[in-house]
Symmetry: C2
Subunit: 259 residues, 2 copies
Amino acid sequence: MSAQEPDGTNLLSVATLSASMATSAEQLVGSLADRISAKIVAGEYPPGSRLRQEALAEEFSVSRTPIREALRQLEVKGVIQHRPNQGAIVLAPNARDIRDAYQVRAELEGLAISLAVEWITDEQIERMRRAQKRFAEIVDKLIAARKSNAKTHLKDVPNWVESNDEFHGVVIEASGNRRLKQVIQDLHLGFTRNIMLSALTMDGRRMRENVSQHEAILSAISRHDAIEARKVMTHHILRSGELAVWWLESQGRLGDSGR
Amino acid sequence: MSAQEPDGTNLLSVATLSASMATSAEQLVGSLADRISAKIVAGEYPPGSRLRQEALAEEFSVSRTPIREALRQLEVKGVIQHRPNQGAIVLAPNARDIRDAYQVRAELEGLAISLAVEWITDEQIERMRRAQKRFAEIVDKLIAARKSNAKTHLKDVPNWVESNDEFHGVVIEASGNRRLKQVIQDLHLGFTRNIMLSALTMDGRRMRENVSQHEAILSAISRHDAIEARKVMTHHILRSGELAVWWLESQGRLGDSGR
DNA sequence: ATCATCCATATTGGATACAATCAATATCAT
DNA sequence: ATGATATTGATTGTATCCAATATGGATGAT
């Protein structure tokens, strides 16, 4: 079994390793689900708020029918909660949800890298190096910008996210386990990515810590040292989880939805 | 000795500890999704077959609208594949899908038990003991029945599944990680459970092997030995995965759907 | 015969219409 | 005034309708 995709086309899809991204033509419902989901993540529909079908329909210039189907999908994805005859409300994770999710993610990305060590190609390692380089540069830039003007750094944040996703994405891809990839992506859904960046970008020291953890991961995987790679990856993610929990708790619970 | 239930109607019911089970009133779409899903698992809608909305609507005496929404949910759950303007077809896992899923599940249940060891109560261990006792008895019964009359054992199979689920369910519950529980349940969706039981119930020696693996797990968790518990749990599940893959390959690919 | 093209039909996709349910206010009795 | 009940409006849930697209068979050319 090789880590390479036989049908190859999607392998290098650097852009947003998010889940599905059906945001293209001829997939109206999927596209709607993505767009609604994006607005939830962006905070436009805050946690706990009701999503009215008619309002969404008007906003996206469609009828309620495809909106309803999109909401059914988001319900299964765990982004919203749907109560009979009462419609949909936006879910928000509490500290425990975050802790639980990161514990699972740490385990799964640990598995991913221990598999990846075996199969990863030089080309993939090179992609990780480049992603890491960009990552480090952006962090420097963010920290520098933070010291002068707080506004400037905002437009670099997407790049920060993207290079981080690329880094982790290569590892997951190289694991050769498609189901593993899917499960990890599902874990990200909605909150994880968002909260992590919120938690990290608020503190220069923690961003640098993050960079050096990536460095350690890259070093271990380059040496094909499965034990060490797994150890540092797991630590890296658990640490990110701690930060996310702290950040969430410092924010005062936004939506302590008792799901 | 080969598989006993060659014709489509094998392995009915089973539904027990599945994920959501919204099959009650006032949740029509959820209920429809469950019922359609159940029929897929039961083999009534075989892999690769098209699910026509009108046919389903008539079968369940509703209009196409709730059917469509149920199909959207099943799409996200990975039970069916939905192609634009071409409707839904039933997905079937191939050997690789099974391998991938079991690898992930082994890791996650390994995590579960290593967490559970810390927090599990005597009452929960007692539940595991009882489940294990039932499990062993049913296996004896199945093997005995198999030697005389092949039909008899079919009505015990659901009990076999249920006691096995109870055993694993206690561990997962005792892990205290709700997200972990959800992710593991999602992994079961559709095929995993079904294939495992198909693979195992065809061979007495393997069923006994399974029982003794449970015994080892129970022993380790009773001694609160996290390392050993994890080791035997992981081995147990990976072994089950191997059997499932073998079984699937021996069946000649039913649906080698190129998803 | 084999293959491509075209047309009739079946099926899906989306919008609208109607029924059922809920929320919030108004009304009434105590 | 307080609490229970009734009523109105808003919102969700299901069914039906029409348009867009695909499917499958017939027709015709090579």
